[in-house]
Symmetry: C2
Subunit: 234 residues, 2 copies
DNA sequence: TTGTCCTATTGGCTAGGCCACTGAGCCGTC
DNA sequence: GACGGCTCAGTGGCCTAGCCAATAGGACAA
């Protein structure tokens, strides 16, 4: 099972519409198109891509299913507000704004992630975490809310856990988390205490203390959650 | 902004391919088609649905993107093994069989789920959990491995947590969990100790003791994991 | 100003056709 | 008999050409 074997790789065949869809998304990000912006008319787009309208239409169907664009009869093709569709996100949001659910899920995932990070972090991981802390600190001192640094921090910790599955799950609910996060950080004084929480988490991870890291992360998530829950009442 | 307003409901316009896709999926479940089964040829299917091949093709693209079917050039259209696409499952499996990852994720989710279940379980939840325990017990006494009861139990506990997001995530990794579960339960004597673990979890949930429930679940997952880790070494 | 109509533009869908790929069966060679 | 190549029917891939339907916006009448 080593050298010569392993050959018969299925040799993935790509359909034209897939390539077209990719080119379109590439074009979108190249030109930095936002939600609401329009794609060129089908006929024109098909011509410039060198494919038939039928094929282009397939590509648009694919993009529509994924949730990248909305095709409107007689009007045109418009970009949807979410460049990358998170299926779970959709499902939950459609059901209702269930902030508490998000908190629970986040608590479950990040607590474990923090513990794993304490055990597995590399030097590089620690540096990334420290950098995120610094960025958040600078932002807050400059009067900002430290949103970006906050996200950076949590991403760095997640990566330090070196657990692909957990990382994937965090990615899936990241958009939902972002909503609660921004809200939390807009509360006066919240950024500072959030930063302190981060510091505690980082210290525990750095020290390799899994239990302390988990506890610190749990406390941090709870700190965020009480705000969100308040809103949940309203 | 109350009564008369609100009228201009966008009047959801459905594209033909959507209806076609729905009819196809309906047809699939009606005829109880399984993974690997074939759809009729495009020309024939298009005719019987009363649409052009181009439209049918769009519908197939949509179904392909969702992960319901695989369209194979020169061969035919085949049903995929997962009626609802488990994207995560794919990603992980494609990367490599990472049993430890699964254990970690499972630990993160189920520990939290157990704690929530202890706080939120209804009478009905408790009955379902008890029933699953009974089923597993009977199976084991009859010489079985209690696989089905095991799954039932965990599903019942998950439902008792009443957290849609966490439930959704459990569903997503359930297939991966199943693989480790079957393996674990085939170890002699493992079914009995697993059953004991379940009992402990159920007791804690029944008592409303979140902390104990979490601890019991954690211990249970770890019990399973040592077997899996052994295999991970191999 | 308001409401109606017209029309250019754009997507929706069809028809019909040719090409490329797959799998199975046939047949010759060894 | 086993192997390899060949053929061919069936199936999807993609295209061209064209008409229909929806939309938005301007022209125009009231």
């Amino acid at each position: 099972m080593s050298e010569s074997a392993r050959f018969p790789r299925p040799l993935q065949r790509t359909r034209l519409y897939e390539q077209v869809a990719e080119q379109i998304t590439a074009w979108i990000s190249e030109n930095d198109l936002k939600a609401g912006d329009r794609l060129p008319p089908e006929r024109q787009l098909a011509t410039s891509l060198g494919v038939s309208r039928a094929t282009l239409s397939q590509a648009l169907v694919a993009l529509e299913v994924i949730g990248v664009v909305a095709v409107r009869h007689g009007d045109g093709t418009v970009l949807t507000d979410k460049p990358r569709a998170e299926r779970i996100t959709d499902a939950i949001r459609a059901h209702a704004e269930r902030i508490p659910d998000v908190i629970e899920a986040r608590d479950a995932l990040e607590t474990k992630i923090a513990a794993l990070a304490a055990q597995r972090r590399t030097q590089q991981d620690l540096e990334r975490i420290a950098a995120a802390l610094k960025a958040m600190e600078r932002d807050i001192e400059a009067g900002g809310r430290g949103v970006q640094g906050d996200e950076l921090f949590h991403r760095a910790v997640t990566e330090a856990a070196h657990s692909p599955l957990l990382e994937q799950m965090m990615t899936e609910i990241s958009e939902l988390i972002r909503e609660t996060r921004i809200e939390s950080l807009s509360q006066p004084d919240r950024p500072r205490s959030s930063l302190a929480g981060h510091q505690k988490i980082a210290d525990a991870i750095s020290a390799g203390d899994a239990e302390a890291a988990a506890a610190a992360m749990h406390g941090h998530v709870m700190l965020v959650s009480d705000v969100a829950l308040l809103r949940g009442d309203a």
